[in-house]
Amino acid sequence: MEPRRVAPGAHDWGPRVDAGSGTAAELVYHLAGALGTELKELARRFGPEAAAGLVPLVVRALELLEKAAVGPAPDSLQVSAQQAELELRRLREENERLRIELRSGPQEERALLRQLKEVTDRQRDELRAHNRDLLQRSQETEALQEQLQRLLLVNAELRHKLAAVETQLRAARDRESERELQREAAVGPPPERARGQAGGPVGEQGQEPERGAPDAGTQGTPENPTDAPPQPGRPPKVGQCSFSRAEVEQILQERNELKANVFLLKEELAYFQRELLTDHRIPGLLLEAMKVAVKKQRKKIKAKMLGTPEEAESSFGLWYRGEAEAPEADASSAAPRELRAGEEATAPPHLDPVGSLTAPSS
């Protein structure tokens, strides 16, 4: 107790003490000093007995005051410091937790937004793809329709050509039968009759005049003895005929090819019509592949039908293509070139359809 009383004894401390931590203790010491002075004054005035009872009480009270003013014992301070530290840690943890919670809230929201954006993007892409698809399909439809149109044209053209060739054939046959009749009248039964006996050819002979019934257009055609090239293997009657065997063979070959073409085109037309009529649309790539396959198959079927090797280009195909590519030469490159050359003088009317039909093909 002594040293403490001495230390603050310096009076120049006073004002500093008021603001310092030791305020309460200093006050107690001041109070003790003041009370001592007062007690000494009492003892001087009224005798030491007057204050003798009071002094121990006052001392005791001051001691208690001092104890209270100086503060708690160091161990209790330690305990409270630990408590404070614990509290601090708890608060820090809570703070951390709250911060995490605070942060996690917007993250969820952000994820949702991102998902939403993805969905929107995907839908936009899908819409664009659909649009493109629609456009492409309409183009495909147009292309198919064009092809159909073209096929229809080709079909009509081929039919016309076929008709023309058939007319030619019919005319040739009529002319020949007529000539044969004339010859029969002059010479007697033709050599092939020798093979058949009396019974067989009767029917034919009976019908011969009927089939000789003239085709108005061709019957009038004047006979030109020079139009057919002489055939070494054939008897003189060929000399009158406007068609040599080779020519007839060529005409037949052309007719067969035209017929095969018509058949295949009709089938192809039906096929593409079916494709157009059904709702099912084919993607462009597949359509192309199909077209190529159809072309390949057509070649194959045609070769099969005509009994020609698949790769061999037919004579008809050649002139037909040449004609299509060079429409200005249509008259000269028309199918029966030899026939034309041979029959220039007669210029039979049945050849006209061939010439006139080449125009639309260009």
């Binding site: 054939l169 040739a172 046959r173 039968s177 050599p191 092939e192 093979r195 058949g196 006996q197 019974g199 067989g200 050819p201 029917g203 034919e204 019908q207 009927e210 089939r211 065997r245 007839v248 063979e249 037949l252 007719r255 067969n256 017929k259 058949f263 295949l264 089938e267 192809e268 039906a270 096929y271 019509q273 079916r274 009529l277 059904t278 709702d279 099912h280 084919i282 597949l286 592949a289 199909m290 190529v292 396959a293 159809v294 390949k296 198959q297 057509r298 194959k300 079927i301 099969k304 039908m305 009994g307």
Partner: protein, 259 residues
């Protein structure tokens, strides 16, 4: 892939048409060869897309070859005689056991002067139809010569022969019986199947051509199966024809609403 349109409903064969006379038939089995039926069910018939058989029709002039073909293919009959120049052909499409099958019927000229032209078309026939007039014995006798000529260009062991008497409507039953006896004998000799038809009335015409189609188809498929031997046709073909698979997948998706 098959560019061909669907086959007409009245050209669909689900069963083997029977012969006319058992005495002169190519075979008298009730059904298609089991291997053929099996191959058709498993779609192993080879030649994806287009099976075509060449059939030539020969015989004396004016026996009615063209009329016979026209009655079947166009269902028409023209009583006026019009000589065939050289050759002509008609395509007839069938569906046999679910498999598309086409006959190319080559109509040849009967007139002697066209024979040299017509005979150049004999080659590669799978069936030969020799036609004679049921009312003309000579035309029946000539069938042997027609057959010999046609066989010069073909393999006698693989080609199917049909001997067809025409103009049945013109013969009385008594005449017919006599004629048929001779015809059956000839058919037996040449190992041909005998038929008697009338293009005017249409009697037996359809039955006859259906029989031709069925037997030709059967022979065709058997030959293909034979040729491929241990290889499985279906596998080979499937491997080789991607285009047909493309089409198959495409057609599977679309509704069956063909016109």
């Amino acid at each position: 892939m098959n560019i061909l349109a669907p086959v007409r409903r009245d050209r669909v064969l689900a069963e083997l048409p029977q012969c006319l006379r058992k005495e002169a038939a190519l075979h008298v089995r009730k059904d298609f060869h089991p291997r053929v039926t099996c191959a058709c069910q498993e779609h192993r018939t080879g030649t994806v897309g287009f099976k075509i058989s060449k059939v030539i029709v020969v015989g004396d002039l004016s026996v009615g070859k063209t009329c016979l073909i026209n009655r079947f293919c166009k269902d028409t009959f023209d009583k006026n005689y019009k000589a065939t120049i050289g050759v002509d052909f008609e395509m007839e499409r069938f569906e046999v056991l679910g498999v598309p099958f086409s006959l190319q019927l080559w109509d040849t000229a009967g007139q002697e002067r066209f024979k040299c032209i017509a005979s150049t078309y004999y080659r590669g026939a799978q069936a030969i139809i020799i036609v004679f007039n049921l009312n003309d014995v000579a035309s029946l006798e000539h069938t042997k010569q027609w057959l010999a000529d046609a066989l010069k260009e073909n393999d006698p062991s693989s080609v199917l022969l049909f001997l067809v008497g025409s103009k049945k409507d013109l013969s009385t039953p008594a005449q017919y019986v006599l004629m048929e006896k001779d015809a059956l004998k000839v058919a037996h000799e040449m190992k041909a199947e005998y038929w008697a038809v009338s293009s005017l009335t249409g009697e037996n015409v359809r039955e006859f051509f259906f029989r031709v189609a069925a037997l030709t188809f059967e022979a065709n498929v058997l030959a293909e199966l034979e040729k491929s031997g241990s290889r499985r046709i279906g596998d080979v073909v499937r491997l080789n024809s991607d285009d047909s698979n493309l089409y198959l997948t495409a057609s599977k998706k679309k509704p069956a609403c063909c016109p």
